[in-house]
């Protein structure tokens, strides 16, 4: 918070462009990376920028961007959730099971969102009121959800999903619905965080919890609410994930929590809390999906994807720390 404000103030006299860049520097860098990547890989392998591949990239990864919105809020408030991947796996399975069991489609969409909010609110209560560090609570939750899911379902495939349930395959003006969800939710969340008192209090808690308390912010209640909102986004992400194909495998998508956290952190959400935007995390999710896809088009083995992911987080984190030391 303080770093961001200081940067903005210093460049206030140097015009709108410079000011915008100072606030959204990380976002512009990622946007530039995305453009460069698409142009460069597109020149080498033109099929990379074909509508089919672009659709694959966006439809297959929009749910990561959606989950990263909630994760960004959690990290900005100074916490973390390593169980989000397992949670999305569980919620997707619940949603799919309801859909094939003959429940109304709207119920199959709504139930995972509500269950998601209940689970993350519970995490929030343990973190805020019982004061267990979020990493421990969510590590425990990770194994509870993951183990619970596999022992109940045995990793079976859910098939015969009703066609009107597959919301991720709907199109509006020719553009797949996950892209609309991603854009709309990012815009909503960005405005919510920038212009509402609650949004500002997320930054305040992450910047300095004690100061936020003294300033009259109910830290515990706000923290629980942040986790609940995170569950809301995880629920929507789970529905998008569940409906993108004709089948759902009732297991936990491997490394999903890491991909979501990567998107948040690479998108400029400071690991120390207090700064970052959801626009950045959505752009980072797109960048990461594009990198994954380009590895295939450049004939690089997909087995290197995680190493690239790790290097990306590490590089961003180190850059973040270096910038902090220079400014502070």
């Amino acid at each position: 918070m303080s770093v961001e404000t200081a940067t903005v103030r210093r460049s206030a006299s140097t015009g709108f462009a410079a000011r915008t860049f100072a606030t959204y520097g990380q976002e512009f860098i990622i946007l530039a990376c995305i453009v460069v990547l698409f142009v460069a890989v597109g020149l080498i392998a033109p099929r990379f920028i074909s509508p089919t591949n672009l659709t694959t990239i966006f439809v297959g990864n929009a749910y990561i961007a959606v989950a990263a919105i909630g994760m960004s809020m959690v990290i900005i408030s100074g916490h973390i959730d390593v169980s989000v991947g397992s949670l999305i796996g569980v919620l997707a399975t619940i949603s799919g099971t309801l859909a094939v069991s003959g429940y109304p489609v709207w119920f199959a969409w709504l139930a995972p969102v509500i269950v998601g909010m209940v689970v993350t609110s519970f995490i929030g209560v343990l973190v805020a009121y019982v004061r267990i560090p979020s990493i421990v609570v969510t590590l425990g939750m990770l194994s509870i959800l993951k183990g619970g899911l596999i022992s109940v379902t045995g990793g079976a495939w859910i098939t015969n999903l009703p066609p009107d349930y597959l919301i991720a395959q709907f199109r509006l003006f020719g553009i797949p619905s996950p892209v609309w969800f991603m854009i709309a939710l990012t815009a909503l969340a960005a405005m919510f965080m920038r212009y509402t008192a609650f949004g500002r209090s997320i930054y305040a808690i992450g910047g300095n919890g004690e100061a936020a308390r003294v300033a009259g912010i109910p830290v515990e209640r706000t923290t629980v609410t942040i986790f609940a909102i995170h569950g809301l986004f995880a629920g929507i992400a789970a529905v998008l994930f569940a409906t993108q194909l004709q089948v759902i495998q009732s297991t936990v998508p491997p490394n999903l929590e890491l991909t979501v956290i990567t998107a948040s952190v690479v998108g400029g959400v400071s690991i120390l809390g207090g700064t970052g935007t959801v626009v950045g995390s959505t752009l980072a999710a797109i960048l990461f999906a594009a990198i994954g896809s380009s590895l295939i088009f450049l004939n690089v083995s997909a087995y290197w994807l995680r190493a690239v992911q790790g290097l990306l987080i590490l590089a961003t984190v180190l850059a973040d720390m270096a910038r902090r030391h220079r400014i502070g």
Partner: protein, 316 residues
């Protein structure tokens, strides 16, 4: 100090009673549970986690955490196979090199944490992805098999009727307990965790202490990798996935405070035995492997919950 020591003894006492209770209940469930063969076999199975839990106790006492241990284990296991089979090195040299890589991986963690002041949670979350990614990229999902017979002594053999690796675990545990309890380095570890600034002002080289501890964590993960490969006779890049959870559960269950400054090796060993007894007992009672993961998650959360309540009572 006396206050926290008293509340800590209370935690260990509670843990001890819990362990006896669990053992008693599990023994009722299955008559296979309390046989020598089963107990020794459990010792074999818990060695890798037990070894990594020792330096993890130091890490958590300093107020840090190391989530990358499972990935380091996977990376070292893959490199052991690659050094031996693809580069044609003699197996002992490959083993030594793999352990060195583990130490190097730990050193990198330590440097990121001390030089760049990156919070350990995020630093090791990043290297968790990086090291596992390297393991996957190097192995390309190929496994290495066909190790010579003598190599299996480490993970499948016995010395004086006790599994070889259990001896290694016992020696390491005694060594770790001595270092933590009796040396200035051990005192420095507690001091760093209790109050880093105060430790710095009282002349402790905080960065060097942390660097050594994270390097040791990587080194021991490398040793655990060699034992793991020897035990299961094969090398795969997904080895050690999720080990960090078991390790952290054992350490935290053993009374080490996740906020730093408190903890003992004895506690970790008791926590370790408790986790393994639960796993084994549940498996013998017919609970499937994935069900036991749920129990470990629940136990982890409740252990911290109880520990928080105790320390609150201790402070009041």
């Amino acid at each position: 100090m006396t206050l926290s020591l008293r509340s800590f003894m209370r935690h260990e006492a509670v843990l001890g009673i819990l362990l006896v209770l669990v053992l008693f209940v599990l023994a009722q469930q299955s008559d296979k549970f309390f046989t020598t063969a089963n107990i020794l076999n459990q010792g074999r199975l818990m060695t890798e986690i037990g070894l990594i839990a020792l330096p993890m106790t130091f890490v958590i006492i300093t107020g840090g955490i190391d989530l990358s241990v499972g990935s380091i284990l996977g990376l070292c296991a893959i490199l052991l196979g690659v050094f031996w089979q693809n580069l044609g090195l003699p197996l002992p040299a490959a083993m030594a090199l793999a352990v060195c890589v583990g130490a190097l991986a730990g050193l990198v963690n330590g440097l990121i944490i001390t030089r760049f002041k990156v919070p350990p949670l995020i630093a090791t979350l990043a290297t968790l992805a990086l090291y596992r990614g390297l393991a996957e990229g190097i192995s390309q999902a190929r496994s290495v098999r066909g190790y010579p017979e003598w190599f299996f002594v480490l993970g499948q053999g016995e010395v004086l009727g006790v599994p070889t690796q259990l001896w290694i675990l016992i020696v390491f545990a005694i060594g770790a307990a001595a270092i933590l309890g009796l040396t200035t380095f051990g005192r420095a570890t507690y001091a760093v965790g209790a109050n880093e600034t105060a430790a710095r002002f009282s002349g402790i080289n905080v960065d060097r202490t942390k660097l050594l501890i994270y390097t040791a964590s990587g080194l021991v993960s490398g040793i655990a990798a060699v034992i793991f490969v020897s035990r299961v006779s094969t090398t795969r890049s997904d080895m050690g996935t999720g080990v960090e959870l078991d390790v952290i559960t054992a350490v935290v269950l053993g009374g080490t405070s996740i906020f730093g400054g408190r903890g003992t090796i004895i506690g970790t060993v008791v926590g370790l035995i408790l986790v393994q007894a639960l796993k084994n007992g549940l498996a013998l009672s017919g609970v499937k492997g994935d069900g036991t993961i749920v129990v470990i998650g629940v136990v982890l959360i409740f252990a911290i919950l109880a520990s928080n309540l105790f320390s609150r009572n201790g402070d009041g």
